[in-house]
Chain length 427, copies 2
Amino acid sequence: MTDINETHDPKLRSWVESANSEHADFPIQNLPFGRFRRANSDDPLRIGVAIGDQVLDLKAAGLVDHADMNLLMAATPAERHALRKAISAGLAEGSGKQVVWARALTAQSAVTMAVPCQIGDYTDFYVGIHHATTVGKLFRPDNPLMPNYKWVPIGYHGRASSIGVSGQRFRRPMGQLKGEAAAPVLGPTQRLDYELELGFFAGTGNALGESIPIGQAEQHLFGVCLFNDWSARDIQAWEYQPLGPFLAKNFASTVSPWIVTMEALAPFRAAPFERPAGDPQPLPYLDSAANRESGALDINLEVWLQTAKMRAAGEGAVRLTRGNARQAAYWTPAQLITHHTVNGCNLQPGDLLGSGTLSGPESDQAGSLLELTLGGKQPITLPNGERHAFLQDGDTLTMRGWCERAGAARIGLGEVSGTVLPNASPL
Amino acid sequence: MTDINETHDPKLRSWVESANSEHADFPIQNLPFGRFRRANSDDPLRIGVAIGDQVLDLKAAGLVDHADMNLLMAATPAERHALRKAISAGLAEGSGKQVVWARALTAQSAVTMAVPCQIGDYTDFYVGIHHATTVGKLFRPDNPLMPNYKWVPIGYHGRASSIGVSGQRFRRPMGQLKGEAAAPVLGPTQRLDYELELGFFAGTGNALGESIPIGQAEQHLFGVCLFNDWSARDIQAWEYQPLGPFLAKNFASTVSPWIVTMEALAPFRAAPFERPAGDPQPLPYLDSAANRESGALDINLEVWLQTAKMRAAGEGAVRLTRGNARQAAYWTPAQLITHHTVNGCNLQPGDLLGSGTLSGPESDQAGSLLELTLGGKQPITLPNGERHAFLQDGDTLTMRGWCERAGAARIGLGEVSGTVLPNASPL
């Protein structure tokens, strides 16, 4: 019997040659799940696993007998491990499956990806303490971090229906804008922003009324994606009190197409953000030895921008930010799961938990333009001379994420990309 | 061809005799939709229409060929009208359908009701201006109504997964409680409350990126239910800044089982709450002549409480509150639909919009205990001598709603009931 740890062996190679590059996002040690159909077709969605530059169709490979990602996500950890081991064994160099499974492969360039599962409920958290502090200063100069921040993993419910997959194009949203004038006006947002986040997908859920102890929390986590929580800062500033952001966020949110499983991320677990001296320790229900030791995720993150002018000139995107999730997050995914359910709230397979904006401690590690430009006061200058305070029509924003360390295969999260259209343009 | 207005004729009578009482919630002029199965069975859910004390099985009556309420809700207004007219004609006294449809009836006492549709996203609004003012004073004495309140129909996203149907029983939720001490503690809420709301179900949705003009908003409204937005005030006070309520609300919310359609409510439309002199008028996108004339709903509301002690003594529930939705709501359902989609956010059939707590201007019209007891400072005394500041274990809270006026048949919304269990009890 293969051990689950053997699926991480950096020496493992696949008969899918493109998976063996040391720069590949999707080597055989990764095996992320997504939903796809043939490009430009109306075919029903199928469950696939990314391997190099290919997609393995799990049903065609005989590994599942359905196309329901949420059902797959509801599997027990043991079932998930067994599936991972079967996929790994079949894709490994020398596997007897090669002849049959080669027919279950499609080039990623020939498929269209969808949101990877049916997202029932979506919750957004606020674990980025550097983000919370910097943004808090802009909205509330005298009171940047609320007294609850270091006790409560702050979260709120978001909109599931408007979550799209990488490649999403959306119109600049309209909303009530309240400047210095006495009355607000309706108009397109002038302060459109991105937020660099990770998305955590729930696997097996909990029954309504039951909570998930922190020691079991990770068994309910299926995997991770990149997540862009587009935000309209002017709409947000006017609407958010007292019940939180609403139209400032729910016009679009974008996920990367591949869910990288917790099993694939096992080699990249790390001790969480070290709480500064004087900070309270987590309450007992949010604390465990395992969480203190390796509750965090060591994931590198980058944000890239290509403006319409750059695209027209054939210029590639420029990097705005680089950072690391572990250095940004005050709370771990396990703490989020446990806090979310401590009152009996039920998670269901496929539910999405956003991390909140993952800004690092340095100013060039900011996960939003609000931070990078100090609320728009200090626009950034791009290499072609364009100045950006907030996102402009035609901008394409791309986030990338990956894990690497000596002695382990690189695990990529792929990318999440989205484009801002003028308010009146067709979609 | 029957006119849709004829389905409201107060002289219409049904061959289902119990529907003809002048006190019936569900006369032939109502015809609300719900999902049911035989009591204590695992049968698949079926779509039913309440008529008197019976349920008409729409599929057994040959009126639909499926059991998918969301599909029915996605119908065009013309299709909905045609269905209403067919049901009305078939249930009317003297109908030739009587012999066949009598076999499609089941007593309501012999069925179990479910949440009436699959709720994709749930949004809670805050249209009760008396509630917002009174509660605002408790949380922010110097600043009860935020400057945005009279411009923006304030709303936020809630949790869909924990919405249950009337009869829901839930454990008193745990959460972080922060009293006067320096550190919060985890414990069962000590300030459990109800909120008297209406729930508005979306019918046909809108495409992501498209907004719904106010003149078309009501075509996207399917119907109305009663809604109890249970709230843990101590958890809420500690967690809600800056992103809004979360665990204080998402442990349970309860809907009444019958969706009373906008068609049934047509005789009870009224001019909205009259804005006091000095209040701004709605921005143009939230304004229309039709909305000013008849955008509101004239629905009477009541809240009843039965404690465990009362139940043990065989004593019925006591009324805590009575009021009217029209007098409580600063914004109309059409304004909520239009505001929700002005940024392109997509509504889908079955989405639920809560009104927010519908408290009247008088203190005995308060839609929550927070208001009735002034934040718990003035407990209410029940007829049996019990004193209640907030909800106690074993309390059953029931809300009722109905419309009546001279020259129209009474239209009932039925009731929504829920019971608080001790924190450690089995569900």
